[in-house]
């Protein structure tokens, strides 16, 4: 079984092998270093002309990637920490995602920006954030986030094959994790269903999809925390839950979420980013603006980071980021009302 990091590494290697248009660029990608998180290890040795070390110029690099993409290559840009996506804001928002539409479809912009987000490693206020939230509402940009139950490498390959700009989020804490592979319809203790097509949404159930009491919506690096919370609640209180895990997290409609909530009437949304104006806001809004609001049996609960920066000190970081106990508490509250 591969780790999440290996899955990404292998996918990059396979795309380099099969598609001559693929070009990797970013800071410190080349061997022997192989990237700050070692994700591109070995690749420059095998494809010396197609893995490019760049200066520290994140602002321009997003534009360089757009230029490469328009001219027919398939650039995959690594931004070393997701916190530095702030540098890419202009080239993404006012350039890369605009070109296709405003040029009336005359160009494709098949670029991928891969970047690790998330905390839990004590890297402090500027190296731990989950900043994907600021890009979620940008029309024309797909944000893909793999969980460790997704086939991360396949998601990345699909992103590289996509003709649109994709922001590909990798949670730092997932890198060393084993990827969960479905065996006879199960991943670990959960029955699993996959959506069709690219960028799969997973549905996980600890009741074989039999009469779940609530829906938990989550993506990416928070899934391990959610499965742990749900596992504990099953043992402790026999809670049956369905977990919905999209990978295309800012898609305009997530049918699995709507369906599941229609059945359960109870929803907990979990994300690592700060609470306000985050991913969970849009997800909750979709419920309250939808007719299915009638089937809600309890207020929706959002579990997210406190609206604060992230500290270096472990006690403070933990107190800011959502923990297993916070998820359990939210589930209990949703079930209680």
């Amino acid at each position: 079984m591969k780790t999440f990091a290996q899955s990404i590494n292998t996918a990059l290697e396979e795309k380099l092998a099969e598609d001559p248009r693929v070009l990797l660029l970013g800071e410190d990608l080349r061997d022997p270093y192989g990237g700050a998180f070692k994700i591109t290890k070995g690749l420059s040795s095998r494809y010396p002309d197609r893995v490019l070390n760049t200066p520290m110029s994140e602002f321009s690099l997003a534009g360089v990637a757009a230029g490469l993409a328009i001219r027919g290559l398939r650039p995959v840009l690594e931004i070393m920490f997701g916190d530095f996506m702030t540098f890419c804001a202009d080239q993404l928002i006012n350039h890369a995602v605009k070109f296709r539409w405003m040029y009336n479809g005359q160009v494709d912009v098949p670029l991928v920006i891969r970047t690790p987000m998330g905390g839990g490693r004590g890297y402090g206020p500027t190296h731990s954030q989950s900043l994907e939230k600021i890009f979620m509402g940008i029309p024309g940009l797909k944000i893909i986030a793999a969980s460790h139950f997704h086939d991360a490498g396949t998601l990345l390959k699909d992103a590289i094959d996509d003709d649109n700009p994709v922001l590909f989020i990798e949670h730092k804490l997932l890198y060393p994790r084993k990827i969960g592979q479905p065996v006879d319809g199960y991943i670990s203790d959960f029955a699993v269903k996959f959506s069709d097509g690219r960028y799969k949404t997973l549905r996980l159930s600890n009741t074989d999809f039999d009469d779940p009491q609530l829906t938990v919506l989550v993506y990416g690096g928070m899934l391990p925390w959610v499965t742990e919370a749900v596992n504990e609640l099953l043992v402790e209180e026999e809670v049956g839950a369905e977990i919905v895990v999209p990978s295309y997290i800012n898609q305009s409609f997530i049918p699995e979420m709507m369906e599941s909530v229609k059945t359960t009437g109870r929803l907990v949304i979990v994300e690592e980013g700060t609470l306000s104006f985050g991913w969970g806001a849009e997800m909750a809004a979709r419920i309250v603006t939808h007719e299915s609001i009638g089937s809600l049996k309890a207020p929706v609960r959002r579990v997210a980071a406190k609206d604060l920066p992230l500290a270096n000190s472990r006690v403070l970081e933990e107190a800011t980021l959502p923990q297993v106990r916070d998820i359990k508490k939210a589930v209990q509250e949703v079930l209680a009302s």
């Binding site: 110029s57 602002f59 534009g63 360089v64 230029g67 490469l68 202009d90 006012n94 539409w101 005359q106």
Partner: protein, 304 residues
């Protein structure tokens, strides 16, 4: 390159810009535009030595670059008028043009990194194509320019940075916004540089032709500085209250059209004038008759 050809291109641009100005005054246009009246020699001199499949990136003041390179007066005028027959079907307007391998964006300096990426793509593809990236003196304030100069130099990219110094960024004089000598900013990144102190499209053409050939054969970047002037305001609403009228008059004497006109027979000038006028008129009547885009197609093309 024949003087006639250069003159015709420049005149076409001039008449186009004047026509656009008129349309605004008449209230027939929505939004804003930035005319390049006075700067035509750079647009024409730089672009006429390029191959048709070379690449140009441009900025807010891009009509001249566009017409000089693509000749597509019709598509541009219809675009400004927000018509379906516009080159981007009315979506992009004046500042965000795309026609084959011509690309612009209204964010000052924004296309510089994109152009750099395009040059990298052409180098990787060994296509032999080069990129010309237009920017104004105002864009010298934007840091990504220096990131891009650095990468272009490090990677030996086939790109020419063309700085059109017209002494102003909107109302701000270069003395208020640009420290030191502009050319040094290219040299600091170990990029070859060249400075042009002329409004003569012929001289620009022949000087720039050599640079094109160097960039194409050596696959190395170049940084070129042109001293020019916009005779008009920054945009439609600008009355140039921040400029000295004598300065304007001095530059008017160096009108690039006058410079070439003196080298042509009066009949030739007249013939070209009529031809250009007719072309603008036709474009105008075509565009006027064209339908507006259908809002039902609004979301087409967001996703590929």
């Amino acid at each position: 390159m024949k003087t006639e050809v250069l003159y015709e291109k420049m005149l076409l641009i001039r008449l186009f810009e004047e026509q656009v100005g008129l349309l605004f005054t008449r209230g027939d246009l929505f939004g804003t535009t930035h005319a390049c009246i006075g700067q035509e020699a750079v647009a024409v001199g730089v672009t006429q030595g390029l191959h048709q499949d070379d690449i140009i990136t441009s900025n807010h003041r891009g009509h001249g670059h566009y017409i000089a390179f693509t000749g597509d007066v019709e598509g541009l005028l219809a675009e400004l008028m927000g018509k379906k027959t516009g080159v981007c079907a009315g979506r992009s307007g004046s500042q965000h043009l795309c026609y084959k391998n011509f690309f612009s964006n209204g964010i000052t300096g924004g296309m510089i990194p994109v152009a750099t990426g395009m040059a990298l793509a052409e180098k990787k593809k060994k296509s032999g194509k080069i990129v010309v990236c237009f920017l104004g003196d105002g864009a010298l304030g934007e840091g990504p320019l220096y990131e891009s100069l650095n990468m272009a130099s490090l990677w030996g990219l086939p790109i020419i940075f063309v700085v059109e110094n017209n002494s102003y960024a909107m109302s701000t004089h270069i003395s208020e916004a640009v420290a030191g000598k502009i050319l040094e900013r290219g040299k600091a990144f170990s990029i070859k540089t060249e400075e042009f102190y002329t409004q003569d499209a012929g001289k620009i053409f022949s000087g720039f032709e050599k640079i094109i050939s160097h960039v194409r054969t050596q696959v190395q970047p170049y940084f070129c500085l042109f001293h020019t002037y916009r005779f008009c305001g920054h945009s439609k609403s600008d009355d140039c209250c921040y400029r000295d009228k004598n300065e304007e008059l001095e530059w008017r004497k160096k009108d690039p059209l006058l410079i070439l006109e003196q080298r042509l027979e009066p009949q030739t000038v007249k013939r070209i004038q009529e031809k250009c006028r007719r072309q603008i008129e036709e474009a105008l009547s075509q565009a006027a008759e064209a339908p507006f885009p259908d809002p039902a197609c609004l979301s087409q093309g967001l996703w590929g």
